[in-house]
C-alpha cells in the first residue's frame, strides 16, 4: 500500500480537528455495524461482524476437559486471534503473528478478567459440570478476514455475538461414581444451554490523533495516531479492562476523560449491538 502523502495527512488531521472525518462521520460516531450469526455451522456458536471494510469472524467451540487443580470450580476459557493473509499481504507466513498475539492478549485482558476469574464477562463457574472433575473448555477463535482499522472493537463485538449464538450441549452425569474415578458423562444431542451474555463487555478504542481522540478509526486514521486506549465497558457501565497502545505518553487527566467518554459511547454501542444480534438471530431462525 502506498503511504499517505502530506496533503492526505493534513486532510485527515484537519478533518478530525473540525469534527468532520473523511468519511463524513463525527469524532465519536461508529461506522454502521453488521452482524451475522451462525456462519460456521460446525462450531457451537459463531458470528461475523463487519464495520465498514473491517470484517471479522468469531467462533466458539466447547470441549469437555478437566478443571485445573487450583481452581476446581471453574471452567477454562481461551481466546485466540488469527490474522488471515487475505486481509493484507503483510500477514503472510508468520507476518501476522505479532499482531495476532497482541490482539489475543488484549481481548483476554478485556473480556476474561484477571487470573482469579474475577471480573470476567463469562462466568467460569457456569462451565463446571462436576466440580474438580469435568468442565467445559471454551475455545474462542477470532479470524480477521479484511482489515480497515479498529480490529479490537470488531473482534470483541464478534465474540459477544458468537457467545450469544452459542449453545452448549446439556450433560448428564452418571450418578454412581466413586470420588477417585472420572465420572461417566452423556452428552445430549437435543438440549442446549444458552449463556448469559448480558455481562459481556464491549471494547471501545479511542484513538488520539493530534489533540483530539476518535472512535472506530479506519486504517488511514490509525496511521496518524499518537496513541490509543482500548477500554472495555459492560452494560452496567463498569470498566472491565484497559489497554494503551502507541508510543506517545498521555496525560493522566486525559485518560480519565477518555474513560468517561468511552463509557458514554459504549451505552450506544451495546444497544446497537444487542439489537443487531437479535435481528441476526431472528433472520437465522427464519432461514
Amino acid at each position: 500500500m502506498v503511504g499517505l502523502s502530506v496533503g492526505e495527512k493534513h486532510f485527515i488531521q484537519g478533518g478530525i480537528a473540525q469534527d468532520l472525518r473523511s468519511d463524513g462521520r463525527k469524532r465519536l460516531t461508529y461506522r454502521p455495524i453488521y452482524v451475522e450469526t451462525g456462519v460456521i455451522p460446525q462450531a457451537h456458536g459463531s458470528a461475523r461482524v463487519r464495520l465498514g471494510a473491517t470484517d471479522v469472524i468469531a467462533s466458539v467451540k466447547a470441549e469437555l476437559g478437566k478443571p485445573s487443580a487450583l481452581q476446581p470450580d471453574k471452567g477454562k476459557i481461551a481466546i485466540y486471534v488469527d490474522c488471515s493473509p487475505t486481509a493484507a499481504p503483510m500477514f503472510e507466513g508468520r507476518g501476522g503473528e505479532e499482531l495476532s498475539t497482541e490482539l489475543s492478549v488484549a481481548l483476554q485482558r478485556c473480556l476474561l478478567g484477571g487470573k482469579s476469574g474475577a471480573g470476567a464477562g463469562i462466568d467460569p463457574t457456569s462451565l463446571v459440570v462436576v466440580e474438580g472433575k469435568v468442565c467445559w473448555d471454551l475455545y474462542i477463535d477470532g479470524l480477521v478476514i479484511s482489515s480497515d482499522g479498529n480490529l479490537l472493537d470488531a473482534l470483541a463485538a464478534a465474540i459477544k455475538a458468537a457467545l450469544s449464538n452459542t449453545g452448549i450441549p446439556k450433560v448428564d452425569v452418571a450418578v454412581e461414581t466413586r470420588s477417585d474415578e472420572q465420572p461417566e458423562v452423556n452428552i445430549s444431542d437435543e438440549e442446549f444451554l444458552q449463556f448469559d451474555t448480558s455481562g459481556i463487555p464491549v471494547i471501545v478504542t479511542l484513538t488520539k490523533v493530534g489533540r483530539h481522540y476518535i472512535v472506530d478509526a479506519t486504517s488511514e486514521e490509525e496511521s496518524q495516531m499518537s496513541s490509543a486506549v482500548s477500554i472495555s465497558v459492560n452494560r452496567k457501565g463498569h470498566i472491565c479492562g484497559l489497554t494503551k497502545r502507541g508510543g506517545v505518553g498521555l496525560d493522566p487527566s486525559i485518560i480519565l476523560d477518555m474513560i468517561s467518554v468511552a463509557k458514554h459511547v459504549s451505552e450506544q454501542l451495546i444497544n446497537k449491538l444487542d439489537s443487531e444480534i437479535a435481528a441476526a438471530e431472528a433472520s437465522e431462525e427464519e432461514s
Binding site: 456462519v39 460456521i40 455451522p41 460446525q42 462450531a43 459463531s46 471494510a53 470484517d55 469472524i57 467462533s59 467451540k61 470441549e63 485466540y80 488469527d82 488471515s84 493473509p85 487475505t86 486481509a87 493484507a88 499481504p89 503472510e92 507466513g93 508468520r94 475455545y139 477463535d141 479470524l143 478476514i145 479484511s146 482489515s147 480497515d148
Partner: protein, 241 residues
C-alpha cells in the same frame, strides 16, 4: 460401512452423480484487488488476490514473466475438532504449491514481467474437497482482480465407493479410504491442468471416475461464468450505464 444405500442415495441424501450446492460471492475483501467466497456444501473458502504489484523480494523477480505466489491457510475452527496447528505445516505447503501451479498455468504471466501476484486462500470450513473449492475461489478472485487468464480453471473431485463412482466427496466419504480423484480443467480449451489421485483403482474405472470429475468441473465452470457475468452486469448497472 455403506456409503450408498440400496435406493442409490448417499449419506447426505445426494445421488451418486449429484454435486453439493454451490454458492459464490465476489468482492468480499474490500482492500484486495480481487476476492471471492466459494462454497461447496459445507466447505467454505475465501480467496483474495493482491497484485499485479512490484516484487517485494528483488531476488525472486523474474524478468520475462510475473511471479505468482500462493498461501493456503486453515482457520482454527474450520475442522470438526478444533486444533491449533502451526502455520505452514506440510499439508498446507503442498496445497499452496498445487494451487500456485494450477493458477500459474492459466494466468498470462508473460504480460506482466517483473511483477508479483499474491493469491491467499483461507479455509473457513472444511468438509471435503477443500483443494477444489480453493482453486475455484482463486479463479473467481483472479477474474475479479482483472488479471488476464487463458481460461478460467475449475476443479472438482470424484471417488469410488461401494462400486459406485461418486461426484464431489464430502468429508465422511473422503475419509472412507477409497480413491479420491481431484481434477482441474480449463473448460473452454478442454485441457486438464491438475490431476491427483490416491489409493488404487482399475484403469477402466479410473476413466469413468475421471470423466465424472471432468463433468463436475464443467458444471462448476458454467456456474462461475454465470456469477462473473452477473457481477459485471451489477457493476455496470451501478455505474448507471
Amino acid at each position: 460401512m455403506e456409503y450408498v444405500s440400496p435406493e442409490g442415495l448417499r449419506l447426505d441424501g445426494r445421488r451418486p452423480m449429484e454435486m453439493r450446492q454451490l454458492r459464490a460471492e465476489i468482492g468480499t475483501v474490500a482492500k484486495a484487488n480481487g476476492s471471492a467466497v466459494f462454497e461447496m456444501g459445507n466447505t467454505k473458502v475465501i480467496a483474495a488476490v493482491y497484485g499485479p504489484r512490484e516484487v517485494q523480494n528483488r531476488s525472486q523477480q523474474i524478468n520475462d514473466q510475473a511471479l505468482v505466489r500462493c498461501e493456503y491457510s486453515m482457520a482454527n475452527f474450520s475442522t470438526g475438532d478444533r486444533m491449533r496447528k502451526p502455520k505452514g505445516d506440510r499439508r498446507s505447503t503442498e496445497i499452496s504449491l498445487v494451487i500456485r501451479q494450477t493458477m500459474e498455468a492459466c494466468i498470462l504471466t508473460h504480460l506482466m514481467p517483473r511483477s508479483q501476484i499474491d493469491i491467499f486462500v483461507q479455509v473457513l470450513q472444511a468438509d471435503g474437497g477443500t483443494r477444489s473449492a480453493c482453486i475455484n475461489a482463486a479463479t473467481l478472485a483472479l477474474a475479479d482482480a482483472g488479471i488476464p487468464m487463458r481460461d478460467i480453471v475449475t476443479s472438482c473431485s470424484a471417488g469410488y465407493l461401494n462400486s459406485t463412482p461418486l461426484l464431489d466427496l464430502n468429508y465422511i466419504e473422503d475419509s472412507a479410504g477409497g480413491p479420491d480423484v481431484t481434477v482441474g480443467i480449463l473448460p473452454k480449451l478442454d485441457k486438464v491442468t491438475l490431476l491427483q489421485m490416491d489409493a488404487k483403482l482399475p484403469v477402466d474405472i479410473f476413466e469413468t471416475v475421471m470423466g465424472l470429475a471432468i463433468e463436475g468441473c464443467k458444471a462448476i465452470a458454467n456456474y462461475i461464468r454465470e456469477v462473473l457475468l452477473e457481477n459485471t452486469k451489477q457493476l455496470e448497472y451501478r455505474r448507471g450505464l
